[in-house]
Symmetry: C2
Amino acid sequence: MATVNSYDVGQNPEESLMPTPERTTTAAIVAAARAIVEAGGADSLTMKEVATRVGVRAPSLYKRVRDRNDLIRLVVEDTVDEIGVRLQAAADRTVDPRAAVVAMADALRALAHERPQCYQLTFGPLPPGARPERGTLERVAGPVLEMSGRLAGEDHALEAARTLTAWMNGFIQMELSGAFRLGGDVDAAYAWGLAALIEAITNGGERRRD
Amino acid sequence: MATVNSYDVGQNPEESLMPTPERTTTAAIVAAARAIVEAGGADSLTMKEVATRVGVRAPSLYKRVRDRNDLIRLVVEDTVDEIGVRLQAAADRTVDPRAAVVAMADALRALAHERPQCYQLTFGPLPPGARPERGTLERVAGPVLEMSGRLAGEDHALEAARTLTAWMNGFIQMELSGAFRLGGDVDAAYAWGLAALIEAITNGGERRRD
DNA sequence: ACCTGAACACCGTTCAAGT
DNA sequence: ACCTGAACACCGTTCAAGT
């Protein structure tokens, strides 16, 4: 099959001087990068593999991303955005704050199981050039902060949200990295822990006053 | 200065055929690797830099470590062992299980602040060849499991330990990765969360029975 | 205007040759 | 027995040259 592009087709001088149409997009590059990370971990993310998947050569990628770390940043931000979408959807499914927290935690854990490599990349150590832009995480914090505030009271919304997200994140990361090696039922530990956290957060830790 | 080794010094044939004395040790290599990781993150860990620091050339390292991932594994296991030592020391400092849990959490957080890069490497995503050997994490679990069992009751020791370690780990990782960007007092959130966790774990979540 | 081959620096790893 | 220079494959990145 002969390759067809504007130079084969162009009939007059003006047409053959037209800018080359773009052969890929940033979105396609990020999607390819995400798939590579998910398939083989962040170490397997090479510019060449990304280029092959989107149908260009490696140097062309530098038209859309600054460097490899920048591409990692885009994958991380994509993951954070997806987390935001799912948390919001979970929160919208109910009005009861306890049920909402359970739904958000379940949704986050489900996403982590769907995309374990991207999840670990997102919350693991990132080189400076790969850290998400200011505002990316803040966008996700909304529903968690709101429900935490409703459970713990506005005065303790931030502490409660941090306690909850720390546990969720920590549990998921230990689960994904295979840190739970002492047997037992991990799902049961998750349910037990989530119930314990919700109980502890409710009413701003009033019971803890001496 | 002239280089001095057994070949310069050897006076008889037997001595000059003696095996070359080892010019470095696995322990020195791991210490150098740890320092490099701590100084510049895991990405900055190159075989050449390790070799330079211990005074040999890169190929010599392969006499002691299988490959770069194996060296990362040794750094991770070193970090886990250090965590174990500190947790045990913290647990030994008191007989009250609540105070012991606080002491262990403080000790873990202090170590994470001392060696943020090694800590994040240890609990971040690791390629298969860099994962710690079976038994490494189990060695550390002891004191946490014991105190969790005393607080939550033996029937819930494992769930309680997992809830506690998930929160500790999650909090520390979020703190280290700069995820707490909404202002507020991070130390206060830590204290609030720890108190909440201890309260939630105590008595096996009895209050949660409907 | 976009894309690419060629080139460069760097890295992990192997191995024959040194001592 | 240990160490190393040389070599190889691979990778990120740049850039002049193509279309």
